[in-house]
């Protein structure tokens, strides 16, 4: 069964450094998402991406964040200058189609980001 994959599983970085989290969505899916979950808190939406552009983003997704689909398979989340509070589990998700949020999103296993 196809699944969303994410690399690395754990990323440790120094505050102020740039990190790139990578995701390979399910191949025939058209919508891609990033979520994060700070330890002990709820899963929070960051951004959705469709047709090579951001379709929706939350207030968490500020200028420090960017997303890219550099080729036909990868979907990346870049954090330009990491802060301690960026430490969280980052989940990538994809869905085949969406019409106003009525489609199931399939999640990857997550990347645990630790900012020291």
């Amino acid at each position: 069964e196809p699944e969303v994959t994410q690399t690395p599983s754990h990323q440790v970085t120094q505050m102020g450094q740039e990190v790139i989290l990578r995701c390979v969505p399910i191949s025939n899916h058209l919508y891609f998402y990033w979520y994060r979950q700070i330890l002990g808190q709820k899963v929070e939406f960051l951004v959705s991406f469709y047709n090579n552009e951001i379709s929706e983003k939350s207030e968490i997704f500020d200028d420090q964040f960017s997303v890219e689909r550099p080729d036909g398979s990868n979907f990346t989340l870049k954090i330009r200058s990491t802060k301690l509070e960026d430490s969280a589990m980052y989940f990538c998700a994809s869905s085949p189609i969406t019409s106003g949020g009525t489609d199931t999103q399939y999640f990857g296993p997550g990347t645990r980001l630790t900012v020291l």
Partner: protein
Amino acid sequence: DQQVKQNSPSLSVQEGRISILNCDYTNSMFDYFLWYKKYPAEGPTFLISISSIKDKNEDGRFTVFLNKSAKHLSLHIVPSQPGDSAVYFCAASGHTGNQFYFGTGTSLTVIP
């Protein structure tokens, strides 16, 4: 803003009994609801969904009930099995966007 709430952080149930997980929401524009199950060190896994035009959806041992007037949904698992032990997240979305709002999760433990 806590648009989706799961007020019980944990629940313990004996194997074979019914597990009932509850979720409340505040945004009346939500029209699609899902339950995800999450094991440690894994991403959320889709379990079951319901749209606002229905009040019940059943899939095997899992049934989701939606009460729109009360802005409440629940997930019933019967019979509960030890493999059901996980964190369950309720999520909701509205027809104007594709972002999901998640609850804080309920950790279910099914005791053999």
